[in-house]
């Protein structure tokens, strides 16, 4: 069952090789044994998960099984799940039992999947290392002294260490792709608007997008139809039919035009990372793809633009956490002002507060035009660069991150260095495009390297095809950390 594909698990359940309860118990056992080391999950509730599993088994017995019926999925703790503790990695919500289900959770529930637990994350998804979580950092299964990336680090770790067959993530500036790269798994951030944000706790509303994380492109293709889909409760949800994301997986890649933006191969990126990317490009050429050099001239601006727009939206989105209706309320207050200021100062961690302050500042009187409005204009410039590039190619490729997983604490005291590590992922969110990371090598220290694939709007099926064909020809996606194998749980 360990690192088995979703198709294999689905077949195992269908053939009666094991039940959903057994499958769920298997992963719960792995979580029980390994989570104390990895800190991948914030909340595990065996009783709830197993109840769902036995309901799934009953459904299957009645002949009403769907592809994901009975398969346990780890849910990023940013998705509200009814009656589950939903913390968003924050002290602010450390006691928050959600009274409702996010759209994504509803969709998984109606697909018959089992909620395996809520995964650790950077507080309110603000971070690139999972070190800002109130519940402590997540460890990278390849080297537990290193970060798994963030903000969906718990989900990435869970898949990489075999604590879950697949997981959900969210990506505002790279939060699915970068941790996928750091842990050697696959992650897809869909086109903005494909996955409903209803019940997905907001960080930066115009950039946030949920997506699947798993062992292979094939697995992601199975998860996509469940996560994507119109939701009237999200005004930015796109009203279009759910696609069959598996339809193009088998297509040969001959004729595929891969654009390599020259800005993705700039100085500051680790030579080992660049080397691995170049190797994978060679592999793609073998598969019949042609290479086009393109340019995204304004890409360097994406980091400053993002660190104006995302904090601005966040500062406003996080105003609802005031200690009045739910969430942390300070014990120290006399006046309303003290109630607000102390509850928020105690409930939020340093990085979240930093971003709230940046956001409040760039929106404040006299600075709006110089920062916020200017950033919105540059956002259009950055998006236009992609449109221009896609006139010459089908997909773009480059590194997901300039480096492999860094050490815990290495960048946590230097926000600017941390922000710059998102350089290759952020522009995709600003444009609202789909982006993906798949494993394409290991560095000398044995740490995974991620290849980023960026598609045009709504080209997820094509991107999955591109990734899948590579995964048929190579085995990077099957490499797993040697430290957390089957022996541990036997």
């Amino acid at each position: 069952m360990l690192h088995a594909s979703l198709k294999t698990l689905s077949q195992g359940l269908a053939s009666g090789k094991y039940s959903s309860v057994e499958l769920t118990q298997y992963f719960l056992r792995r979580i029980e044994q390994l989570n104390p080391t990895l800190n991948s999950f914030i909340t595990v509730d065996a009783q709830k998960s197993l109840a769902q599993a036995s309901a799934a088994d009953a459904q299957r017995a009645q002949g009403r099984a769907q592809p994901l019926t009975g398969i346990p999925i780890a849910q990023k703790d940013i998705f509200c799940a009814k009656d589950w503790l939903t913390t968003c990695g924050s002290k602010m919500l450390s006691q928050f039992i959600s009274p409702y289900d996010a759209h994504v959770i509803e969709r998984f529930n109606s697909a018959g999947a089992v909620n395996l637990g809520k995964t650790n994350m950077d507080e309110f998804a603000m971070g690139s290392s999972n070190e800002t979580s109130f519940f402590g950092p997540v460890r990278n299964p390849w080297d537990t002294e290193r970060v798994p990336g963030g903000s969906s680090g718990g989900s990435a770790c869970a898949v990489a260490a075999g604590l879950a067959p697949a997981a959900t993530g969210t990506d505002t500036g790279g939060s699915i792709r970068q941790p996928a790269a750091f842990t050697g798994i696959c992650g897809l951030k869909p086109t903005y608007g494909l996955v409903s944000r209803y019940g997905m706790i907001a960080f930066a509303s115009s950039l946030d997008q949920g997506g699947p994380m798993g062992n292979s492109a094939e697995d992601l293709a199975m998860l996509m139809p469940v996560m994507a889909g119109f939701d009237a409760r999200d005004s930015t949800s796109l009203d279009r039919p759910v696609e069959d994301y598996e339809r193009d997986l088998a297509k040969p890649l001959s004729g595929l035009r891969i654009g390599l933006p020259k800005e993705f191969f700039a100085q500051g990126t680790s030579p080992e990372v660049l080397n691995a990317i170049e190797q994978s490009i060679v592999e793609y050429q073998k598969l019949g793809a042609s290479i086009v050099e393109v340019s995204l001239p304004n890409m360097a601006l994406s980091v400053p633009v993002y660190y104006v727009l995302a904090p601005a939206e966040a500062s406003s989105n996080l105003s609802r956490y005031d200690g009045v209706r739910y969430g942390h309320r300070s014990a120290q207050y006399q006046t309303l002002s003290e109630l607000y200021e102390n509850s928020r100062a105690e409930g939020f961690g340093a990085e979240v507060k930093r971003r709230i302050l940046i956001g409040a500042y760039v929106l404040s009187h006299g600075y709006y035009d110089a920062y916020y409005l200017r950033a919105q204009k540059l956002r259009r410039l950055i998006a236009q660069d992609f449109t221009d590039a896609f006139a010459h190619c089908d997909v773009l490729m480059g590194p997901t991150s300039p480096s492999t997983a860094f050490k815990l604490g290495e960048k946590s005291n230097d926000p600017v260095q941390m922000y710059l590590s998102d350089i290759y992922t952020i522009a995709v969110n600003l444009a609202g495009l789909p982006g993906m990371s798949i494993p394409c090598g290991l560095d000398k220290q044995g740490l995974p390297i991620g290849l980023q694939i960026i598609g045009n709007y709504f080209r997820e099926a094509q991107m999955l095809n591109v990734a899948h064909q590579y995964q048929l020809a190579t085995d990077w996606h099957q490499r797993r950390s040697p430290h957390f194998g089957e022996a541990l749980t036997s």
Binding site: Q95, F96, I97, P99, T191, S206, L207, A232, S235, L238, N298, A300, L301, P304, V305, Y307, V308, S315, S319, D322, G323, V324, R325, Y326, G327, R329, Q334, T335, L336, E338, L339, E341, N342, R344, A345, F348, K353, R354, I356, L357, I358, G359, A360, Y361, S364, Y371, R374, Q376, K377, L378, R379, R380, L381, A383, P415, V416, Y419, L420, A431, G432
Partner: protein, 95 residues
């Protein structure tokens, strides 16, 4: 451009975040670095560009005017810090 200490305190007040002198100083330094990074934006002429608020150039969908929500007060208030007679309580506010 650098923020003054007063600006840091002002914006903390605006965001309702209690901040002591030491934190304000540390924040001032960090925000200084971050705004250095952000200042790269100032190099570009943006006068001819339309601002972009959304990833898609679409317009707002409208919902029919129908009531479909039911009373869930009990459920919602079970997670509230302080309620009385169905009201959320806060320290006395003087208008």
């Amino acid at each position: 451009m650098a923020l003054t200490l007063d600006e840091v305190k002002q914006v903390a007040r605006l965001a309702r975040l209690a901040i002591n002198e030491e934190e304000a100083l540390a924040t001032q330094t960090q925000l200084g670095h971050i705004f250095n990074l952000i200042s790269q934006m100032q190099a570009i002429d943006v006068s001819q560009i339309e601002p972009m608020s959304h990833a898609q150039d679409l317009s707002q969908r409208l919902r029919d005017d129908v009531v479909s929500e039911v009373d869930q007060r009990e459920r919602f208030q079970s997670i509230a810090p302080e309620v009385h007679s169905g009201l959320y309580l806060v320290p006395k506010v003087i208008e």
